[in-house]
């Protein structure tokens, strides 16, 4: 197995008690979330019956190939799916509010205050013609219209401080900042209103390795300050392993496995997760990259049964015909695979 990553996962700064707090009231409950894109060439189910829960203070890493539904997931939770896409059903319950049941105005108010989104590619996420301060102030104002100006500004400066940015950034424009600083500004905006849930969509994808680490540490710090549940979307398993508590693996719009970091790296259950872990470079198999055979399937023409079966090394006869349903294994892990049909504690 993968020794270096396993170690880093175990040395992870997060204590394991956060995982055991599963009995506590979860701050985020996603139930049977479904998204379909209606394209000219047919319907594509980008998100298929996805469910999971997260407690406050928990950090979830969400991984998968591009097109596996990670970003769709984030957009669906923010209710920001644009036509031709449509949320077909499901619930996203933050605290005790189901976001899907809110009206337009209610959802607008919920964004940033209950559930915040930190965008992918910070390069272009800030308005080039407005000062950073103005872009923070207008965010606060839209949610707290009665707040006095001084209080709003103090709040913004506090947010900048907590992501280790100088107060002078408040008066700057986006083009005067480096990539890492812009990403920090986005994080600062994300925590302005102390949301219960923060979704960071590939927050480090456009940054260099050193800055990536710093940005991740920033997210880690602010998360501790406001004790929000964090969903980190990305494909850098190595970087993620050092910061998250749980890992969710997505494939073709489905959540195929969700486990603690340690379980995922030492004993992945789903064959796809297994293949992902073993394809990571490590000291042991250096020089030999083991890719996953085959191509990611097109969402327009998914294979019958389990979408992964044509690429799966442990595929059985039933995998081509019957769709596996997510099941919870003893210990609380969730796997969507026929291999564990017998072990399931309940379906």
């Amino acid at each position: 197995m993968n020794v270096t990553l396993m170690q880093s996962a175990m040395e992870s700064s997060t204590p394991m008690h956060a995982l055991r707090a599963a009995t506590a009231d979860p701050v985020l409950r996603v139930r049977n979330l479904e998204v379909t894109y209606y394209t000219d060439s047919g319907r594509a189910k980008a998100l298929d019956n996805v469910s999971f829960t997260l407690n406050s203070g928990e950090k979830l890493g969400m991984v998968g190939e591009s097109g596996s539904g990670k970003s769709t997931m984030a957009l669906a939770m923010m209710r920001m799916i644009k036509p031709p896409g449509r949320i077909e059903g499901g619930q996203v319950i933050v605290g005790d509010t189901d976001l899907m049941s809110l009206d337009q105005e209610g959802m607008r108010k919920a964004r940033l205050s209950k559930i915040a989104y930190i965008p992918q590619g910070a390069m272009n996420s800030l308005n080039p013609v407005m000062r950073i301060g103005a872009q923070m102030v207008d965010a606060v104002k839209s949610h707290l219209p009665g707040e006095p100006k001084a209080a709003i500004e103090a709040r913004c400066r506090r947010a900048l401080q907590s992501v280790d940015l100088d107060a002078s950034v408040f008066r700057m424009y986006a083009h005067e900042l480096s990539g890492g600083m812009k990403q920090r500004v986005c994080i600062a905006i994300g925590i302005l209103l102390d949301p219960h849930v923060i979704i960071a969509d590939e927050p480090t994808s456009a940054l260099d390795v050193v800055t990536q680490r710093q940005v991740m540490e920033t997210i880690d710090n602010v998360q501790k300050q406001i004790n929000a549940a964090v969903i980190l979307i990305g494909h850098d398993m190595g970087l993620m392993a050092q910061f998250v508590d749980k890992v969710a693996v997505m494939y073709a719009g489905r959540l195929v496995e969700m486990s603690t970091v340690r379980e995922m790296f030492t004993d992945p259950k789903h064959p796809y997760a297994r293949a992902l872990i073993s394809s990571l470079p490590s000291l042991e198999n250096k020089g030999v990259f083991q890719g996953i055979p085959g191509l990611a399937p097109s969402l327009l023409r998914l294979p019958s049964g389990c979408a992964f079966h044509p690429r799966c090394s442990s595929a059985m006869a039933m995998c081509g015909t019957t769709r596996p349903e997510p099941r919870i294994l003893p210990g609380g892990r969730s796997v969507t695979c026929h291999l564990y049909d017998g072990e399931a504690s309940h379906g």
Binding site: K109, L112, A116, N127, S142, E176
Partner: protein, 332 residues
Amino acid sequence: MTFKLVIRRLVFLVLVIWAASTIVFFIPRLSSRNALRERFGELARTGGFSPEDLEKIIANMNQQFGLDQPLLTQYWHYLGNIVRLDFGYSLYRYPSTVSDLIAQSLPWTIGLLLVTTILSFVIGNLLGAISAWPRAPGWLRGFATPFILLTGVPPVIMGILLLFFIGFRLKWLPLGGAYSVGVVPTWTWVFFFDLMRHQILPALALIFGSVGGWVLSMRGMGITIQGEDYVNFAEHKGLTAGRIFRDYYVRNAMLPQVTGFALALGTVVTSAIIVEGLFGLPGIGTMLNLAIRSNDFPTIYGIVLFITIAVAVLMTVVEFILPLLDPRIRHS
């Protein structure tokens, strides 16, 4: 914006004015037509002085205006005059200078231009922005369609159509002229309203004739901008739709439109002048029309040069405004 850039722009402005002046100086001299001879020949035929007198008068005139000097000397003189906005004398209203004539008709043209240009720019950009805004209701977005269809119709033809339908058929508004026949220009409200009634159709012609272009270009810009990350992030931040529309979407889509405005100035002014001529409004356009009909060459050249200079100066002004709207230019 740096000092160096300001200097560069100003040098460019001088170059443009110099190029236009040079073209206007040399082209008539390449042609076989002699304005003085034509004018006085005509006078000789109608006014009865002999051909010998004609030659003397022309020689006299040539000397007076320095036309007997070498071409280069004339050219230097001419450039010096341009700097002082001195375009010489009108052939037809001899004692008055071309600059006087322009000064008389300029306020009319500026008034018409200012109102129509601002209205069509604002309306066009707003409609264009709305038509590309996916969150706007369908009926509102549909407003832009008729204007887009009008894009191909030049303001002059728009003017003729308006004259036909509103002036000729419905008889709601006058068919042309500055004010009604028989009305004496006085400082009264009656006269003022009569004056304004005559300005409505030309103004509408100019607005309808140019709105479509702005709608179309703003629509194209809007489609690009609404896909930008910062517009998306603004929605993630939970901003109200109005604020996203104004501060994130229109603010950014407008920037290229302002540059486009500077580039379109020449066409805008030209259209206004021709529409003025069509309606016979007092203004530069009617003056140009008369000058062309009466072969008053100094006036034609003077008007052309004056407008060219004005357009070039306005363009430079707009370019100086741009950095105020876009911090990226300010800091580069």
